[in-house]
Amino acid sequence: MKLPRFSRKTLCIPYAVFLVFFVIIPMLVIFFYAFTDSNMHISFANFIKFFSDPTKLSTIVYSLVIALITTVVCLVIAYPVAYILARSSMKRKFVILMLFVLPMWINFVLRVNALRELFNLLASLKGLEWIAGSNYFKTVFGMVYDFLPFMILPLYTTMLKIDPSLYEASADLGASGFTTFTRVTIPLSMPGIMSGVTMVFLPSMTNYVVSDMLGNAKVTIIGKFISDYFGNDWHMGSMIALVLLVVVFVSTWLTGGFKSEENVRGANL
């Protein structure tokens, strides 16, 4: 056998193999399990059960709401930070950016654990006892803490790329600072917003380590649900995973995650 000629396409083989074994086949397996019963017969029972069970639908809704709140809070915090950092002529702004990004380099389970201890400490203070029982608040707080860098970074990089001459032009044409912000800054940073939203919204629907550790396992989000079901009933677990996949797909489509690269201005990390 003649050795195959090395071409640029050969370089893709490891990636293709990886994709097949770790993405495509597992997805097919999930699909298969979702639509079979425990005797491995084709069945839509799980599908029907999922959409007729208020518990499961509620959990999806709760996860969506938690993820939505997390995303909005992240955006509200991150946008001014990114804006100020990108537009200021501060000498050490890199340091400030680093301070926001630095926590990402520490294992997040460790960080969430630290946060748990902090909450414990706060809850032992007078007047702050309510913290101990407010599981939803703690969960959202943990999610925001965990995902904030993922919002700041894409926003910052997009805003950095906005040509300053556009601001000057806007001012030349008589626009007020506020008008410039709404007509120039926001539209041009839209790709960063979308990218940040995608990167915060999707993981916060499934990151049940946060809800388990900070919510005392009394807050159940969809990721925890899947994990619980995989202990006993792979078929239902797969069905929930599949539904989540569809939700993720739709939200990615809506936020423009599938658009070609150049429109995103390199904001996708």
Partner: protein
């Protein structure tokens, strides 16, 4: 053509992969490889904190070794790990005992090669829950020894996934059969009678008995670790399982974050007083047992039935109580309860007896897990008086050990762990109670050594002398039907006997009498229980709320889609002033 080439390379590498891993995993040809799958932290792993290390080193209050002027550890004389023990070790393992605390798996390899003349290697891996382990087995992972709990042993056996122990394993005349020689008759009886469970049948219709498939490793009860500063034993005795729903403990009590234990507890709450009739309530059963209207076996059977009920009617009855429990508890946990208990954050922690011993020890050492001073000096353990869970973990061999030729080695592993000296080491390391009693009651000496009373002359000045109480452990060394024998009594401090480590590790006979073992759920029951658990764990919204939210989300999605793809609404552009018209934005991609 290129496609084909790419495919062949991909295929070739796919075939090469397993070959490569196989090469990496093999030792010399005649080395036996024994694959053991055990719970996390469930065997003596050697080093600091092991029995041998702690016995041979002088430790300070923090559990660290004391050093002399030259920085060397100070060694001490131990009552158990003495010269005789060292001589035994050297003879058994073929090398001198390392004072740094050897790992038991290494010792097994030494012993096996010395005894059977064949080198062996143990591939040891761990799991976190019975269900995880079960999934691994179903997926076809090959192991030679597993350590599941009672109900999972039953499930695996009923599904025909287990291999029976050889008859020779139970032959007491073979000196290497340490298990059969040293196992506690109490455990052996429970395994023989399936602990009063209904006898299950396997796929071939044969009756299943644990003793054929499983060798006991550890056992214990479940109960409450409580902080005596806030909760009194009297109060708990009055409340029993109702502690879970008692408003005085709101936010100060925890439940387990797994359906089996929490459902069990909820059954306890449900049947504590209220039941369909007074006769079958837990309190009613207890009264009848105490009035001798029920014998011990009938009492256990009745409890087992109650605590294993999974029919629709029972689930409907239990569900509101389960919701009450969720409202009342601080958290569902599997691991954080011990630390929260020691830190004083919670008052009551529903716990397995071994975890209870760990929490009690931790509180007494005056530190929490991070080395900070603990908020509590003493914790106690309490077992609900109206019945609780008795559990066992046992070694079983999955099908295929005979074909792989590892059955003898697997049995030898169990035998090795059943040597009383090794049972002590494991028990000390993990805090649970070994199923081994010892031919010469070695475990009694061990319990006495750890938890026995101090003689009066050892009391320091100013300390109040407490006369020891006799702690009856006859059942553990003779089996529950011991009849007319001389009772085996351990003189113990009154507190140890009433509510401390001794009580947790070696529950008295009256506790055992009110215990039920868990059975496995069959397919339908498991589905019902899973659904129940998902209802409990998540908040269920009203149907109208779901509809409103779903419609809102869909509307937002539709709006975004319209903005993005409709092309008619230019979101960020104001309406054109009078006299101007909006020029449609060009698609930037077209330029």
């Amino acid at each position: 053509m290129k496609m084909k080439r790419a495919l062949s390379i991909a295929l070739a590498s796919a075939f090469l992969l397993p070959a490569l891993t196989a090469l990496g995993g093999c030792g010399s040809a005649d080395t036996i490889v024994l694959r053991v799958y055990n719970w996390e932290e469930y065997i003596d792993e050697g080093g600091k904190g092991t029995f041998i290390y702690d016995e041979l080193h002088e430790l300070n209050d923090e559990g660290n070794p004391v050093t002399d002027g030259n920085g060397n550890h100070v060694h001490i004389q131990s009552d158990i790990v003495n010269d005789k023990y060292k001589a035994w070790y050297e003879e058994t393992m073929g090398q001198a005992l390392s004072e740094e605390g050897p790992a038991i798996l290494d010792d097994f390899c030494l012993w096996y090669e010395k005894t059977y003349g064949q080198p062996i290697r143990v591939e040891y891996s761990t799991f976190g829950t019975n269900e995880d382990m079960y999934n691994e087995i179903v997926l076809g992972n090959e192991y030679d020894l597993l350590c599941p709990s009672d109900y999972m042993i039953m499930k695996l056996a009923a599904e025909g996934r287990l291999e029976k122990y050889d008859d020779s394993f139970f032959d007491e005349s073979i000196p290497e059969n340490y298990y059969v020689r040293h196992v506690s008759p109490f455990i052996a009886d429970k395994f023989k009678n399936n602990a009063e469970l209904a006898i299950r049948k396997d796929e071939a219709g044969k009756e299943i008995y644990w003793k054929d498939y499983a060798a006991g490793y550890m056992w214990g009860t479940t109960g409450f670790v409580y902080n005596p500063e806030y909760v009194t034993e009297e109060e708990l005795g009055r409340l029993g399982w109702l502690a879970f729903t008692n408003k005085d403990y709101e936010g100060k009590i925890t439940a387990k974050d797994n359906v089996r234990d929490t459902y069990f507890a909820a059954l306890g709450v449900t049947y504590q007083e209220e039941a369909r009739n007074q006769e079958s309530s837990l309190a009613g059963l207890k009264a009848r047992f105490e009035a001798d209207e029920l014998d011990a076996v009938a009492y256990t059977e009745a409890l087992t039935r109650i605590f294993n009920a999974t029919d629709d009617e029972t689930i409907a009855l239990v569900e509101p109580y389960l919701m009450d429990i969720k409202q009342n508890i601080y958290s569902f946990e599997t691991d954080t309860g011990k630390a929260d208990m020691v830190a004083g954050k919670i008052w009551l922690n529903y716990a397995w007896s071994g975890d209870a011993v760990y929490a009690l020890d931790l509180a007494e050492s005056g530190q929490d897990e991070d080395g900070e001073a603990s908020a509590t000096a003493y914790l106690n353990y309490f077992v609900p008086e109206t019945g609780t869970n008795l559990w066992f973990d046992g070694w079983v061999m999955p099908k295929g050990v005979t074909e792989r030729g590892t059955k003898k080695a697997a049995e030898a592993f169990v035998n090795f762990l059943s040597m009383p000296q090794n049972a002590m080491r494991n028990s000390y390391y993990i805090g649970y109670t070994s199923a081994i009693a010892g031919e010469n009651r070695e475990m009694l000496a061990y319990a006495d050594y750890l938890y026995g009373y101090y003689p009066e002359e050892e009391y320091e000045e100013g300390e109040e002398y407490e006369a020891p109480v006799d702690y009856d452990l006859t059942y553990f060394f003779y089996g529950e039907d011991y009849g007319d024998v001389e009772h085996i009594l351990l003189p113990a401090e009154p507190e140890q006997a009433a509510s401390r480590q001794l009580y947790a590790q070696f529950p008295p006979e009256e506790v055992i009498a009110r215990c039920a073992v868990m059975d496995y759920y069959d397919k339908e029951a498991s589905e019902r229980i899973n659904e129940l658990w998902s209802r409990v764990k998540s908040e269920t919204l009203d149907a109208w709320a779901i509809i409103v939210i779903v419609v809102t989300v869909l509307a937002i999605a539709a709006f975004i889609a319209y903005v993005k793809f409709g092309g008619k609404v230019d979101f960020f552009r104001a309406k054109p002033k009078k006299g101007y018209r909006l020029v449609k934005q060009e698609d930037p991609n077209r330029i």
